[in-house]
């Protein structure tokens, strides 16, 4: 499993490559935990484009990170979903809570917009 981490403003982007199963899940969780120690990060985008396999362990990792982002009142998005992974995501119900985007750039743009709305709401 390869994990590439990028930070863009207040957004952490994680690009996952390989097979996300129970064996690899811990690595993803640890990588996210390490990066998210920076409390200034308010957005998390998971780019699944490089995944060739994912089972329910991946669902657990995604929902775990979602809870983490919710706790800091941040946002999360998923992008570039490969066909091999789409069915598992669909069954999990994740699309009802986390938005999916075709590309990383679209996810970045849309979450930035959401963050601005949230900031305005807080100021009022």
């Amino acid at each position: 499993m390869e994990i590439e981490k990028l930070i863009c403003d207040d957004c952490l982007i994680m690009r996952l490559r390989g097979e996300l199963d129970h064996h690899q899940a811990e690595q993803v969780r640890a990588a996210a935990d390490e990066a998210l120690q920076d409390k200034g990060l308010q957005r998390l985008i998971l780019n699944l484009g490089g995944l060739s396999f994912m089972d329910s362990a991946g669902i657990g990792v995604i929902l775990g990170r979602y809870k983490q982002m919710q706790q800091r009142q941040g946002q999360m998005a998923i992008c570039e979903i490969p066909r091999a992974v789409a069915k598992v995501l669909e069954i999990s119900g994740i699309p009802r809570v986390i938005p999916f985007y075709k590309s990383e750039i679209e996810a970045l743009r849309q979450t930035a917009r959401g963050a601005a709305v949230k900031r305005r709401a807080r100021q009022r």
């Binding site: 097979e19 199963d21 129970h22 064996h23 899940a25 969780r29 396999f53 994912m54 089972d55 329910s56 362990a57 669902i59 657990g60 990792v61 929902l63 775990g64 066909r83 091999a84 069915k87 598992v88 069954i91 999990s92």
Partner: protein, 148 residues
């Protein structure tokens, strides 16, 4: 032997064997010339059953997982057997989102995925003795094994 085409694999219940187990079963099933989606379904379901054996059946120890697979006409049957702690309440274990280990970031979707990805899922379990999960999938797409 019940079937003319079968395989048997024994592995220790270590998580680094999850990928190996699902790839072996997928390679065996490829004799039926399944589609990529069917292969993906089989790999995912096998991965769920094997992971359950590693996390739940054997918890903190390493035990034996036996995987047997059969091909009959266009039907694949996979049995994943452990000799671990067994499942007390099968009905509860199969409920979507139920997990006995929420602290591990487990989603509780394992059986739900097996049921969605395969045509049939049977679970036999005796507390203290072990669990056997039987997964059946008909390969709809293409060829059947020769009948003689």
């Amino acid at each position: 032997m019940k079937s003319q085409s079968y395989m048997k694999l024994e592995i220790p219940s270590r998580s680094d064997n999850e990928a190996f187990a699902r790839v072996v079963v997928a390679a065996f099933a490829s004799r039926l010339d399944p589609t990529l989606d069917e292969i993906s379904d089989i790999k995912t379901a096998v991965s769920e059953a094997v992971t359950n054996a590693i996390i739940h059946a054997y918890e903190d120890r390493v035990g034996l997982i036996t995987i047997t697979a059969y091909l009959e006409q266009n039907k694949l049957t996979v049995e994943i057997k452990d000799e671990g702690i067994g499942i007390e309440d099968l009905e509860m274990a199969r409920q979507p989102l139920y997990t006995s280990k929420p602290e591990l970031d487990r989603s509780g979707m394992g059986f739900t995925i097996m049921e969605n990805f395969m045509d049939e899922v049977k679970v036999y379990s005796a507390p203290g003795k072990g669990t056997t999960v039987v997964l059946v999938k008909e390969i709809r797409s293409k060829k059947e094994l020769p009948s003689s």
